[in-house]
Assembly symmetry: C2
Homo-oligomer: 344 residues x 2
């Protein structure tokens, strides 16, 4: 008997959506979070795929997300700002609601921003910048998280892992996309080392006295470090300011205070900036897209990889051969569907 089962994208979508409907989410919430979970699983981005269902169910069970939220597009005075109130639901339906308005404003204004407020967040941000690239737009997306990262030179958690994503549209190819935490490791990687009884690499974390540590238990009691020292720490702080304070939503320490745990999904805002290469290049020689390809060719030509290429390869394979899940994974999906919130 084979150890794996291949599901079509549509079939996995149907199963995951049914789980969330059973767990009490309305169709807007269930549809949107299912789309991002299935997209991640399809891309073999396991850390944001069906692995996240359990955390979502726990967050629903703990009443830390509004299961019946219907996000609302708010009127704004500023012509290039689109604002969506997620109404305590997940960030994903709020982004889906705001995307058409954001794209339209970016095309007419050249640059525009989407501020999402009152959202529960768990998704990778590549989804957002890929969607913008699908509209022919370059995009930046960023959000806080909960305080688990020390600013460089400090000794205790203040910043979040604060992801930063960028996308650039390419013709006849998947977009140029990167999406990275501004901490060295993702939080889950430290927990995985702890469970495996393994030491951490140097430079990942400090203990509660602010001393470098390779002990995962000491690291979990201490803080993670920003990538790239001072520079990464400054970018993490920038994200707190722009996607927290500026949009009138929670910073990472405030999000942790509100939730009191890092085991459920945090509530905060998100900032997405869309730029129209057509508008920015207007009147200038050459095509921005052709000139970008020259840069990509030179990158690949010297043996460097473009980010997300592994994800796009996995996507092509999944679309051709189906999404490959282990029998244990399929059994867990069945259990979630059968038991609903009782499963967590």
């Amino acid at each position: 008997m084979s150890e794996t089962v291949a599901l079509t994208v549509a079939n996995l979508h149907e199963r995951v959506e049914a789980i969330f409907r059973k767990a009490g989410l309305n169709s807007v919430q269930a549809g949107a979070i299912t789309r991002v979970i299935v997209a991640a699983e399809r891309d073999n981005c396991k850390s944001h795929g069906i692995y996240r269902i359990e955390g979502a169910l726990r967050t629903i069970k703990a009443a830390k997300v509004a299961p019946d939220a219907v996000p609302e597009l708010l009127a704004q005075d500023a012509a290039a700002i689109v604002r969506v109130d997620a109404k305590g639901g997940f960030a994903n339906p709020a982004f889906e609601l705001g995307l058409p308005a954001l794209a339209e404003r970016a095309r007419s204004s050249g640059i525009a921003a989407l501020a999402i407020n009152n959202a529960v967040h768990f998704s990778a941000l590549w989804v957002e910048v890929e969607a913008l690239a699908g509209e022919g737009l370059a995009g930046l997306a960023m959000c806080p998280s909960y305080a688990t990262v020390a600013p460089t030179g400090g000794n205790s958690p203040l910043l979040g892992t604060n992801p930063f994503a960028f996308g650039w549209p390419r013709r006849e190819q998947p977009p140029y996309v990167f999406d990275s935490a501004t901490s060295v490791p993702a939080r889950g990687e430290i927990e995985l080392h702890r469970r495996a009884g393994k030491q951490l690499p140097e430079g990942w974390a400090i203990d509660s006295d602010g001393r470098p540590t390779t002990d995962p238990v000491a690291a979990l009691a201490g803080a993670m470090l920003s990538f790239g020292g001072d520079k990464g720490s400054a970018i993490g702080t920038m994200i707190e300011l722009l996607a927290g304070a500026m949009i009138g939503d929670l910073t990472s320490p405030e999000a942790l205070d509100l939730l009191g745990t890092t085991t459920l999904f945090p509530r905060h805002g998100e900032l997405v900036i869309a730029l129209s290469p057509g508008a920015f290049a207007a009147g200038r020689p050459g095509s921005p897209f052709s000139r970008a390809e020259t840069l990509f060719e030179a990158t690949v030509g010297q043996g460097a990889r473009l980010p997300s290429q592994r994800r796009f390869s996995a996507r092509a394979k999944s679309e051709r051969d189906g999404i490959s899940l282990s029998r244990q994974e399929v059994a867990q999906l069945d259990r979630f569907l059968e038991q609903g919130l009782g499963a967590v």
Copy 2:
């Protein structure tokens, strides 16, 4: 006899401006580049202070900058884009020309961008984001350079040192500002190691075969590395795309091809994005500025420094006690003024 001389900011400005006027720059060009050079020297940011005069004179002498350029604010269809053609002059007067329009658009649209084209660049970008902070706006600034940095996983120069700056306005305090190259070292630091006969730290550079090296000569023949590995390399690439290809101006490899050397200042564009915290926070609880202060207090309170604090301390000292120059530095200013382009 004292080894140093204290000059007032105004006196240093007068001397530097006279040098550039003597070297043939018109008043628009001379005034703007003098302001940034004097600001850097005042802030004890020696790498962008009077040390840069010689490079500017060499660039003028080599006819790689238009000495009589008058930048032009161009009409744009897109409401949130301001475009300035630097006309082959320095980037600084182009920024000064675009700043009021950029600030006005950011206030009315919430977010706006300034694209500078056809500029010769040598300045630190903190000048730009500090100026925006002075208008009560958050700002991002970025530009390519010449190709001296290998993309992570590659083996030869493609990206520039591509600086990335961010500023956030603070009440009754200098702004939160960072400005960093996206390469590990600045190019000049490798040259300084070579002259001193010192090995480089690990992780700065690769040789022409793509192997890690600590030999500065091999590094100069090879390439520098991005900060933060894949993440920094992706941010460097983003800057090539947004501040090069997207705005219809040169990427770092194109800038190097055009100039053929890294000993003169490169020609390319620059992208500055301004965001209005007032517009983004409209309708939300709390003040974005107060909430930002809470974050800064928590940062400083755990022993971490805010970026640019050393620069602001040096500024306060210079404004109080004058800018301290060595007698050799003053003598060189006198020589530049006397000999003009004959001095380089």
